[in-house]
Amino acid sequence: MLIPHPLLGLRDAQEFTYLGDARLIERPTSGDEAELADYVFQRDNPAGLHRELWFHEQGDRSWLVVTRNTLTHEILGAELARDVSLARKEGTA
Protein backbone atom coordinates (compact mmCIF):
# COMPACT_ATOMS: atom_id res chain seq x y z
CA MET A 1 0.00 0.00 0.00
CA LEU A 2 1.07 3.57 -0.65
CA ILE A 3 -0.04 6.24 1.79
CA PRO A 4 -0.54 9.77 0.43
CA HIS A 5 1.39 11.77 3.02
CA PRO A 6 0.03 15.35 3.07
CA LEU A 7 3.58 16.79 3.13
CA LEU A 8 5.67 14.17 1.34
CA GLY A 9 3.39 12.60 -1.25
CA LEU A 10 2.94 8.86 -1.80
CA ARG A 11 5.00 6.85 0.62
CA ASP A 12 5.40 3.10 1.10
CA ALA A 13 3.26 1.80 3.98
CA GLN A 14 6.34 -0.08 5.17
CA GLU A 15 7.67 3.23 6.52
CA PHE A 16 4.66 3.48 8.83
CA THR A 17 3.44 1.74 11.96
CA TYR A 18 -0.23 1.32 12.67
CA LEU A 19 -2.13 2.29 15.79
CA GLY A 20 -5.79 1.79 14.89
CA ASP A 21 -9.11 3.64 14.95
CA ALA A 22 -8.68 7.42 14.66
CA ARG A 23 -11.14 7.85 17.51
CA LEU A 24 -8.20 7.08 19.79
CA ILE A 25 -7.45 10.82 19.39
CA GLU A 26 -10.60 11.51 21.37
CA ARG A 27 -9.33 10.39 24.74
CA PRO A 28 -12.05 10.91 27.35
CA THR A 29 -11.28 13.41 30.07
CA SER A 30 -14.28 12.94 32.33
CA GLY A 31 -12.48 10.54 34.67
CA ASP A 32 -15.31 8.03 34.33
CA GLU A 33 -13.83 4.53 34.56
CA ALA A 34 -16.36 2.80 32.32
CA GLU A 35 -15.91 5.45 29.67
CA LEU A 36 -12.13 5.03 29.76
CA ALA A 37 -12.39 1.22 29.55
CA ASP A 38 -14.63 1.64 26.54
CA TYR A 39 -12.10 4.00 24.95
CA VAL A 40 -9.16 1.67 25.58
CA PHE A 41 -10.71 -1.67 24.64
CA GLN A 42 -13.84 -1.38 22.47
CA ARG A 43 -13.67 -0.88 18.71
CA ASP A 44 -16.17 -0.41 15.88
CA ASN A 45 -13.97 -2.56 13.61
CA PRO A 46 -15.97 -1.73 10.46
CA ALA A 47 -15.87 -3.60 7.17
CA GLY A 48 -15.57 -0.67 4.76
CA LEU A 49 -14.37 2.87 5.34
CA HIS A 50 -12.14 3.21 8.37
CA ARG A 51 -10.42 6.32 9.68
CA GLU A 52 -7.24 5.17 11.35
CA LEU A 53 -3.97 6.40 12.83
CA TRP A 54 -0.69 5.66 11.08
CA PHE A 55 2.68 6.86 12.41
CA HIS A 56 5.38 7.73 9.87
CA GLU A 57 7.99 6.11 12.05
CA GLN A 58 10.63 5.60 9.36
CA GLY A 59 9.88 8.97 7.84
CA ASP A 60 9.05 12.37 9.26
CA ARG A 61 7.45 10.91 12.40
CA SER A 62 4.12 12.57 11.76
CA TRP A 63 0.91 10.95 12.91
CA LEU A 64 -1.58 10.70 10.06
CA VAL A 65 -5.31 10.04 9.97
CA VAL A 66 -5.74 7.80 6.95
CA THR A 67 -9.13 6.94 5.46
CA ARG A 68 -8.97 3.44 4.07
CA ASN A 69 -11.42 0.80 2.92
CA THR A 70 -10.82 -2.32 4.98
CA LEU A 71 -12.54 -4.48 2.37
CA THR A 72 -10.29 -3.45 -0.53
CA HIS A 73 -7.29 -1.70 1.10
CA GLU A 74 -8.06 1.33 -1.09
CA ILE A 75 -6.77 4.50 0.56
CA LEU A 76 -9.02 7.50 0.05
CA GLY A 77 -7.02 10.19 1.81
CA ALA A 78 -4.68 11.18 4.59
CA GLU A 79 -4.49 14.19 6.90
CA LEU A 80 -2.01 15.22 9.56
CA ALA A 81 -3.44 14.02 12.87
CA ARG A 82 -2.29 17.32 14.34
CA ASP A 83 -4.64 19.21 12.01
CA VAL A 84 -7.49 16.82 12.79
CA SER A 85 -6.94 17.24 16.49
CA LEU A 86 -6.67 21.03 16.32
CA ALA A 87 -9.81 21.26 14.19
CA ARG A 88 -11.63 19.10 16.69
CA LYS A 89 -10.56 21.31 19.58
CA GLU A 90 -11.68 24.41 17.72
CA GLY A 91 -14.98 22.72 16.97
CA THR A 92 -15.62 21.96 20.62
CA ALA A 93 -14.25 25.24 21.98
Binding site: M1, D12, A13, Q14, T17, Y18, L19, G20, D21, A34, A37, D38, V40, F41, Q42, R43, D44, N45, P46, A47, H50, E52, R68, T70, L71, T72, H73
Partner: protein, 416 residues
Protein backbone atom coordinates in the same frame (compact mmCIF):
# COMPACT_ATOMS: atom_id res chain seq x y z
CA UNK B 1 -21.90 -44.94 7.73
CA UNK B 2 -19.00 -45.86 9.97
CA UNK B 3 -15.42 -45.63 8.80
CA UNK B 4 -13.11 -48.58 9.41
CA UNK B 5 -10.19 -50.30 7.80
CA UNK B 6 -12.51 -53.12 6.74
CA UNK B 7 -14.86 -50.63 5.08
CA UNK B 8 -12.01 -49.06 3.08
CA UNK B 9 -10.94 -52.50 1.78
CA UNK B 10 -14.52 -53.50 0.97
CA UNK B 11 -15.14 -50.23 -0.91
CA UNK B 12 -11.89 -50.63 -2.81
CA UNK B 13 -13.16 -53.98 -4.08
CA UNK B 14 -16.55 -52.48 -5.02
CA UNK B 15 -15.09 -49.55 -6.94
CA UNK B 16 -15.84 -47.06 -4.14
CA UNK B 17 -19.51 -46.91 -5.08
CA UNK B 18 -20.83 -47.30 -1.55
CA UNK B 19 -19.63 -43.99 -0.07
CA UNK B 20 -22.37 -41.53 0.81
CA UNK B 21 -22.26 -37.78 1.43
CA UNK B 22 -20.83 -37.17 4.89
CA UNK B 23 -23.71 -34.95 6.03
CA UNK B 24 -27.26 -34.07 5.05
CA UNK B 25 -28.31 -30.81 3.42
CA UNK B 26 -31.40 -30.01 5.47
CA UNK B 27 -33.79 -27.08 5.10
CA UNK B 28 -33.92 -24.93 8.22
CA UNK B 29 -36.61 -25.83 10.74
CA UNK B 30 -38.69 -23.09 12.28
CA UNK B 31 -37.13 -23.38 15.73
CA UNK B 32 -34.10 -24.89 17.43
CA UNK B 33 -32.88 -25.25 20.98
CA UNK B 34 -29.55 -23.82 19.96
CA UNK B 35 -28.39 -22.05 16.81
CA UNK B 36 -24.67 -21.80 16.17
CA UNK B 37 -23.71 -19.04 13.75
CA UNK B 38 -20.58 -20.01 11.86
CA UNK B 39 -19.82 -23.37 10.24
CA UNK B 40 -16.11 -23.27 10.83
CA UNK B 41 -14.11 -25.49 13.12
CA UNK B 42 -15.25 -23.91 16.37
CA UNK B 43 -18.94 -23.79 15.40
CA UNK B 44 -19.01 -27.39 14.17
CA UNK B 45 -17.12 -28.61 17.23
CA UNK B 46 -19.57 -26.75 19.45
CA UNK B 47 -22.51 -28.46 17.74
CA UNK B 48 -20.86 -31.86 18.07
CA UNK B 49 -20.17 -31.49 21.81
CA UNK B 50 -23.68 -30.08 22.43
CA UNK B 51 -25.11 -33.28 21.01
CA UNK B 52 -22.47 -35.70 22.28
CA UNK B 53 -21.84 -34.43 25.81
CA UNK B 54 -25.04 -32.59 26.68
CA UNK B 55 -27.62 -34.51 24.63
CA UNK B 56 -28.84 -31.29 22.97
CA UNK B 57 -29.59 -32.40 19.42
CA UNK B 58 -32.08 -29.82 18.21
CA UNK B 59 -29.20 -27.71 17.00
CA UNK B 60 -28.53 -25.86 13.76
CA UNK B 61 -25.20 -24.60 12.47
CA UNK B 62 -25.74 -21.68 10.08
CA UNK B 63 -22.95 -21.02 7.62
CA UNK B 64 -22.93 -18.03 5.27
CA UNK B 65 -20.69 -19.73 2.70
CA UNK B 66 -19.87 -23.38 2.55
CA UNK B 67 -18.77 -25.55 5.41
CA UNK B 68 -15.20 -24.94 6.47
CA UNK B 69 -14.65 -22.15 3.94
CA UNK B 70 -12.92 -19.83 6.40
CA UNK B 71 -9.82 -20.22 8.53
CA UNK B 72 -10.43 -23.91 9.28
CA UNK B 73 -9.99 -24.58 5.57
CA UNK B 74 -6.77 -22.61 5.30
CA UNK B 75 -4.26 -22.47 8.11
CA UNK B 76 -0.83 -23.73 9.13
CA UNK B 77 -2.41 -26.71 10.97
CA UNK B 78 -0.31 -26.48 14.13
CA UNK B 79 -1.62 -27.94 17.39
CA UNK B 80 0.20 -27.27 20.66
CA UNK B 81 -0.30 -26.46 24.33
CA UNK B 82 2.73 -24.35 25.16
CA UNK B 83 1.21 -21.24 26.72
CA UNK B 84 2.40 -19.47 29.83
CA UNK B 85 -0.43 -17.82 31.74
CA UNK B 86 -2.76 -19.65 34.11
CA UNK B 87 -5.83 -18.33 32.26
CA UNK B 88 -4.65 -19.96 29.02
CA UNK B 89 -2.45 -22.99 29.55
CA UNK B 90 -4.99 -25.37 31.19
CA UNK B 91 -7.43 -24.62 28.37
CA UNK B 92 -4.91 -25.37 25.63
CA UNK B 93 -3.74 -28.52 27.41
CA UNK B 94 -7.39 -29.62 27.61
CA UNK B 95 -7.55 -29.00 23.86
CA UNK B 96 -4.43 -31.11 23.32
CA UNK B 97 -6.00 -33.99 25.26
CA UNK B 98 -9.13 -33.72 23.10
CA UNK B 99 -6.91 -33.77 19.96
CA UNK B 100 -5.34 -36.98 21.24
CA UNK B 101 -8.72 -38.69 21.39
CA UNK B 102 -10.40 -36.84 18.56
CA UNK B 103 -10.30 -39.42 15.80
CA UNK B 104 -11.91 -42.05 18.03
CA UNK B 105 -14.50 -39.54 19.31
CA UNK B 106 -15.65 -38.51 15.83
CA UNK B 107 -14.74 -41.67 13.90
CA UNK B 108 -12.89 -39.67 11.27
CA UNK B 109 -9.27 -39.53 10.24
CA UNK B 110 -8.21 -35.98 11.07
CA UNK B 111 -4.55 -36.98 10.56
CA UNK B 112 -3.58 -35.79 14.01
CA UNK B 113 0.19 -36.13 14.04
CA UNK B 114 2.10 -35.51 17.26
CA UNK B 115 5.35 -34.73 15.55
CA UNK B 116 6.51 -32.17 18.12
CA UNK B 117 7.00 -28.42 18.09
CA UNK B 118 10.39 -26.84 18.67
CA UNK B 119 10.50 -23.16 19.67
CA UNK B 120 14.07 -21.98 19.10
CA UNK B 121 15.82 -19.56 21.41
CA UNK B 122 18.68 -17.29 20.45
CA UNK B 123 19.84 -15.62 23.65
CA UNK B 124 20.24 -16.26 27.36
CA UNK B 125 17.21 -14.14 28.15
CA UNK B 126 15.05 -16.06 25.73
CA UNK B 127 16.29 -19.35 27.16
CA UNK B 128 15.26 -18.25 30.63
CA UNK B 129 11.83 -17.19 29.37
CA UNK B 130 11.39 -20.60 27.72
CA UNK B 131 12.48 -22.35 30.90
CA UNK B 132 9.73 -20.49 32.72
CA UNK B 133 7.23 -21.34 30.01
CA UNK B 134 8.29 -24.99 30.11
CA UNK B 135 7.68 -25.05 33.86
CA UNK B 136 4.23 -23.55 33.34
CA UNK B 137 3.55 -26.29 30.80
CA UNK B 138 4.65 -28.99 33.25
CA UNK B 139 2.16 -27.65 35.80
CA UNK B 140 -0.65 -28.71 33.47
CA UNK B 141 0.97 -31.97 32.41
CA UNK B 142 1.64 -30.71 28.89
CA UNK B 143 5.26 -31.80 28.99
CA UNK B 144 8.21 -29.74 27.80
CA UNK B 145 11.92 -30.25 27.28
CA UNK B 146 14.52 -27.51 27.17
CA UNK B 147 17.12 -28.47 24.58
CA UNK B 148 20.62 -27.09 24.29
CA UNK B 149 22.28 -26.35 20.99
CA UNK B 150 23.76 -29.86 20.60
CA UNK B 151 20.37 -31.47 21.08
CA UNK B 152 18.81 -29.17 18.47
CA UNK B 153 21.70 -29.92 16.12
CA UNK B 154 20.98 -33.62 16.41
CA UNK B 155 17.33 -33.02 15.46
CA UNK B 156 17.83 -30.50 12.68
CA UNK B 157 21.50 -30.31 11.63
CA UNK B 158 20.64 -28.13 8.63
CA UNK B 159 19.36 -25.12 10.60
CA UNK B 160 21.48 -21.98 10.40
CA UNK B 161 23.02 -22.24 13.88
CA UNK B 162 25.67 -19.61 13.28
CA UNK B 163 23.52 -16.80 11.93
CA UNK B 164 25.59 -13.72 12.74
CA UNK B 165 22.80 -11.83 14.43
CA UNK B 166 20.55 -14.61 15.78
CA UNK B 167 22.60 -17.76 16.44
CA UNK B 168 20.49 -20.73 17.57
CA UNK B 169 21.30 -21.54 21.19
CA UNK B 170 18.66 -24.21 21.80
CA UNK B 171 14.94 -24.73 21.90
CA UNK B 172 11.85 -25.61 23.90
CA UNK B 173 10.37 -28.87 22.66
CA UNK B 174 6.82 -30.08 23.22
CA UNK B 175 6.74 -33.59 21.83
CA UNK B 176 2.94 -33.95 22.11
CA UNK B 177 2.37 -30.98 19.83
CA UNK B 178 2.19 -31.36 16.09
CA UNK B 179 -0.22 -30.89 13.22
CA UNK B 180 -3.68 -32.02 12.12
CA UNK B 181 -5.40 -32.05 8.75
CA UNK B 182 -7.28 -28.76 8.95
CA UNK B 183 -10.27 -29.46 6.74
CA UNK B 184 -10.39 -33.07 7.93
CA UNK B 185 -11.15 -31.58 11.33
CA UNK B 186 -14.05 -29.57 9.88
CA UNK B 187 -15.40 -32.51 7.90
CA UNK B 188 -15.03 -34.89 10.82
CA UNK B 189 -16.85 -32.63 13.27
CA UNK B 190 -19.53 -31.86 10.69
CA UNK B 191 -20.18 -35.52 9.98
CA UNK B 192 -20.17 -36.48 13.64
CA UNK B 193 -22.56 -33.64 14.51
CA UNK B 194 -24.83 -34.48 11.57
CA UNK B 195 -24.99 -38.12 12.68
CA UNK B 196 -26.19 -36.93 16.08
CA UNK B 197 -29.04 -34.92 14.56
CA UNK B 198 -27.48 -31.49 14.12
CA UNK B 199 -28.71 -29.56 11.05
CA UNK B 200 -25.80 -28.04 9.14
CA UNK B 201 -27.30 -25.32 6.95
CA UNK B 202 -24.90 -23.85 4.40
CA UNK B 203 -25.36 -20.72 2.29
CA UNK B 204 -27.45 -19.32 5.10
CA UNK B 205 -26.39 -15.82 6.09
CA UNK B 206 -27.57 -14.26 9.32
CA UNK B 207 -28.82 -10.76 8.61
CA UNK B 208 -30.07 -9.80 12.06
CA UNK B 209 -31.11 -10.92 15.50
CA UNK B 210 -34.66 -10.85 16.84
CA UNK B 211 -34.33 -9.58 20.38
CA UNK B 212 -37.38 -8.93 22.58
CA UNK B 213 -37.20 -7.60 26.15
CA UNK B 214 -33.46 -8.14 26.19
CA UNK B 215 -33.74 -11.79 25.19
CA UNK B 216 -32.84 -13.33 21.87
CA UNK B 217 -35.74 -15.01 20.04
CA UNK B 218 -33.90 -16.19 16.96
CA UNK B 219 -32.12 -14.95 13.90
CA UNK B 220 -33.16 -13.37 10.62
CA UNK B 221 -31.45 -15.03 7.68
CA UNK B 222 -31.50 -14.93 3.91
CA UNK B 223 -33.60 -18.08 4.24
CA UNK B 224 -36.12 -16.52 6.61
CA UNK B 225 -36.51 -16.24 10.36
CA UNK B 226 -35.27 -19.15 12.46
CA UNK B 227 -36.31 -19.25 16.11
CA UNK B 228 -33.96 -20.36 18.87
CA UNK B 229 -33.83 -20.49 22.64
CA UNK B 230 -30.12 -19.81 22.54
CA UNK B 231 -27.79 -18.46 19.88
CA UNK B 232 -24.02 -18.98 19.89
CA UNK B 233 -21.80 -16.88 17.64
CA UNK B 234 -18.50 -18.40 16.45
CA UNK B 235 -17.55 -16.39 13.38
CA UNK B 236 -13.89 -15.46 13.99
CA UNK B 237 -12.88 -12.43 11.89
CA UNK B 238 -16.51 -11.48 11.30
CA UNK B 239 -17.34 -11.28 15.01
CA UNK B 240 -17.62 -7.49 15.11
CA UNK B 241 -19.90 -7.41 12.06
CA UNK B 242 -22.26 -10.09 13.36
CA UNK B 243 -22.40 -8.78 16.92
CA UNK B 244 -23.04 -5.26 15.66
CA UNK B 245 -26.38 -6.62 14.46
CA UNK B 246 -27.18 -7.23 18.12
CA UNK B 247 -26.01 -3.73 19.00
CA UNK B 248 -22.76 -4.83 20.65
CA UNK B 249 -19.24 -3.49 20.18
CA UNK B 250 -16.38 -5.86 20.88
CA UNK B 251 -12.79 -5.60 22.14
CA UNK B 252 -11.70 -6.96 18.76
CA UNK B 253 -10.09 -5.76 15.55
CA UNK B 254 -10.09 -7.87 12.38
CA UNK B 255 -6.64 -8.26 10.87
CA UNK B 256 -5.19 -10.17 7.96
CA UNK B 257 -2.74 -13.08 8.30
CA UNK B 258 -0.91 -14.59 5.35
CA UNK B 259 0.53 -18.09 4.99
CA UNK B 260 2.40 -19.96 2.31
CA UNK B 261 2.93 -23.43 0.83
CA UNK B 262 5.80 -24.59 -1.34
CA UNK B 263 5.77 -27.26 -4.00
CA UNK B 264 5.80 -30.83 -2.69
CA UNK B 265 9.22 -31.98 -1.54
CA UNK B 266 10.63 -35.22 -0.20
CA UNK B 267 10.51 -35.49 3.60
CA UNK B 268 12.64 -32.64 4.91
CA UNK B 269 11.16 -31.42 8.20
CA UNK B 270 9.59 -33.97 10.50
CA UNK B 271 8.26 -31.59 13.14
CA UNK B 272 7.14 -28.01 13.60
CA UNK B 273 9.87 -25.38 14.02
CA UNK B 274 9.48 -21.77 15.09
CA UNK B 275 12.13 -19.07 14.75
CA UNK B 276 12.55 -17.23 18.03
CA UNK B 277 14.18 -14.10 16.63
CA UNK B 278 11.77 -13.30 13.82
CA UNK B 279 8.22 -14.32 13.15
CA UNK B 280 8.41 -17.55 11.17
CA UNK B 281 7.03 -21.05 11.74
CA UNK B 282 7.24 -24.01 9.41
CA UNK B 283 6.22 -27.63 9.09
CA UNK B 284 5.91 -30.06 6.21
CA UNK B 285 2.52 -31.37 5.19
CA UNK B 286 1.98 -35.05 4.48
CA UNK B 287 1.72 -34.11 0.81
CA UNK B 288 5.26 -32.73 1.03
CA UNK B 289 4.69 -28.98 0.83
CA UNK B 290 6.47 -26.77 3.33
CA UNK B 291 3.73 -24.88 5.15
CA UNK B 292 4.89 -21.66 6.74
CA UNK B 293 3.72 -18.32 8.00
CA UNK B 294 4.67 -15.29 10.02
CA UNK B 295 3.14 -12.22 11.53
CA UNK B 296 -0.14 -10.50 10.72
CA UNK B 297 0.08 -7.58 8.30
CA UNK B 298 -0.78 -5.24 11.16
CA UNK B 299 -3.71 -3.13 9.99
CA UNK B 300 -7.49 -3.64 10.13
CA UNK B 301 -8.60 -5.66 7.14
CA UNK B 302 -11.50 -7.70 5.82
CA UNK B 303 -9.86 -8.12 2.41
CA UNK B 304 -8.60 -11.72 2.82
CA UNK B 305 -5.42 -10.76 1.07
CA UNK B 306 -2.26 -9.22 2.38
CA UNK B 307 0.58 -7.06 1.15
CA UNK B 308 4.11 -7.73 -0.02
CA UNK B 309 6.14 -6.29 2.90
CA UNK B 310 4.94 -9.13 5.12
CA UNK B 311 5.73 -11.66 2.40
CA UNK B 312 9.26 -10.27 2.37
CA UNK B 313 9.44 -10.36 6.16
CA UNK B 314 8.30 -13.99 6.37
CA UNK B 315 10.67 -15.11 3.62
CA UNK B 316 13.58 -13.27 5.23
CA UNK B 317 12.79 -15.07 8.49
CA UNK B 318 12.77 -18.39 6.68
CA UNK B 319 16.05 -17.68 4.92
CA UNK B 320 17.70 -16.64 8.18
CA UNK B 321 16.56 -19.81 9.91
CA UNK B 322 16.97 -22.41 7.16
CA UNK B 323 18.75 -21.08 4.08
CA UNK B 324 17.87 -24.19 2.08
CA UNK B 325 14.24 -23.05 1.97
CA UNK B 326 15.46 -20.66 -0.71
CA UNK B 327 15.59 -23.59 -3.12
CA UNK B 328 11.89 -24.37 -2.73
CA UNK B 329 9.40 -22.75 -5.07
CA UNK B 330 6.34 -21.17 -3.57
CA UNK B 331 3.16 -22.84 -4.77
CA UNK B 332 0.52 -20.62 -3.21
CA UNK B 333 -0.18 -18.12 -0.52
CA UNK B 334 -3.39 -16.97 1.05
CA UNK B 335 -4.72 -14.65 3.73
CA UNK B 336 -7.48 -14.97 6.28
CA UNK B 337 -9.32 -12.77 8.75
CA UNK B 338 -8.16 -12.88 12.34
CA UNK B 339 -10.31 -11.73 15.24
CA UNK B 340 -7.50 -10.03 17.15
CA UNK B 341 -8.60 -9.33 20.71
CA UNK B 342 -7.27 -6.58 22.92
CA UNK B 343 -5.14 -8.91 25.05
CA UNK B 344 -4.42 -11.67 22.53
CA UNK B 345 -6.65 -14.17 24.34
CA UNK B 346 -10.11 -15.44 23.39
CA UNK B 347 -13.61 -14.80 24.68
CA UNK B 348 -16.10 -17.58 25.50
CA UNK B 349 -18.91 -15.94 27.40
CA UNK B 350 -22.47 -14.80 27.67
CA UNK B 351 -23.33 -11.35 26.34
CA UNK B 352 -25.53 -8.56 27.70
CA UNK B 353 -28.35 -10.03 25.54
CA UNK B 354 -30.00 -13.01 27.26
CA UNK B 355 -29.60 -16.19 25.26
CA UNK B 356 -26.84 -14.75 23.06
CA UNK B 357 -23.38 -16.23 23.54
CA UNK B 358 -20.04 -15.30 22.04
CA UNK B 359 -17.00 -17.36 21.07
CA UNK B 360 -14.40 -15.02 19.52
CA UNK B 361 -11.04 -13.34 19.82
CA UNK B 362 -8.92 -16.32 18.78
CA UNK B 363 -6.38 -14.06 17.11
CA UNK B 364 -4.25 -16.20 14.82
CA UNK B 365 -4.18 -19.22 17.13
CA UNK B 366 -7.67 -20.60 16.78
CA UNK B 367 -6.97 -23.88 15.02
CA UNK B 368 -5.22 -25.61 17.92
CA UNK B 369 -8.07 -24.52 20.18
CA UNK B 370 -10.82 -26.01 18.01
CA UNK B 371 -11.75 -29.03 20.19
CA UNK B 372 -11.58 -27.24 23.54
CA UNK B 373 -13.28 -24.15 22.16
CA UNK B 374 -16.18 -26.28 20.94
CA UNK B 375 -16.26 -28.24 24.17
CA UNK B 376 -16.20 -25.16 26.39
CA UNK B 377 -18.68 -23.22 24.27
CA UNK B 378 -21.07 -26.20 24.29
CA UNK B 379 -20.68 -26.41 28.07
CA UNK B 380 -21.53 -22.71 28.41
CA UNK B 381 -24.52 -22.96 26.05
CA UNK B 382 -25.87 -26.06 27.79
CA UNK B 383 -25.28 -25.16 31.43
CA UNK B 384 -24.94 -21.36 31.48
CA UNK B 385 -21.71 -21.78 33.45
CA UNK B 386 -18.21 -21.57 32.00
CA UNK B 387 -16.23 -24.75 31.52
CA UNK B 388 -13.59 -25.12 34.23
CA UNK B 389 -10.74 -24.52 31.76
CA UNK B 390 -12.36 -21.41 30.25
CA UNK B 391 -13.37 -19.41 33.31
CA UNK B 392 -10.97 -16.58 32.46
CA UNK B 393 -12.33 -15.97 28.96
CA UNK B 394 -14.88 -13.40 30.10
CA UNK B 395 -16.14 -10.63 27.85
CA UNK B 396 -16.00 -8.12 30.70
CA UNK B 397 -12.44 -8.96 31.76
CA UNK B 398 -11.06 -5.91 29.96
CA UNK B 399 -13.14 -3.40 31.90
CA UNK B 400 -12.39 -5.30 35.11
CA UNK B 401 -8.65 -5.26 34.48
CA UNK B 402 -8.34 -9.05 34.26
CA UNK B 403 -6.71 -9.23 30.85
CA UNK B 404 -4.79 -12.36 29.81
CA UNK B 405 -1.91 -10.80 27.92
CA UNK B 406 0.69 -13.49 27.04
CA UNK B 407 2.92 -10.99 25.27
CA UNK B 408 2.40 -8.12 27.70
CA UNK B 409 1.91 -5.51 24.98
CA UNK B 410 -1.39 -4.01 26.13
CA UNK B 411 -4.52 -3.10 24.20
CA UNK B 412 -2.79 -3.10 20.81
CA UNK B 413 -4.21 -5.98 18.74
CA UNK B 414 -1.63 -5.82 15.94
CA UNK B 415 1.16 -6.53 18.44
CA UNK B 416 -0.35 -9.72 19.91
Amino acid sequence: MKFSGFRVVAEALRGHKGWKPLWRDPAPQSEYDVIIIGGGGHGLATAFYLAEVHGIRKVAVLEKGWLGSGNIGRNTTIIRSNYLLPGNQPFYEFSMKLWEGLEQAINFNAMVSQRGILNLYHSDGQRDAYRRRGNAMHLTGAGAELLDQDAVRRMYPWLNFDNARFPIKGGLLQRRAGTARHDGVAWGYARAADLRGVDIIQNCEVTGFRIEHGRVQGVETNRGFIGAKKVGVAVAGSSSRVMAQAGLRLPIESHVLQAFVTEGLKPAIDGVITFGAGHFYVSQSDKGGLVFGGDIDGYNSYAQRGNLPVVEDVVEGGMALMPRIGRARLLRSWAGLMDMSMDGSPIIDRTPVDGLYLNAGWCYGGFKATPASGYAFAHLLATDTPHETATAYRLDRFARGHVIDEKGVGAQPNLH
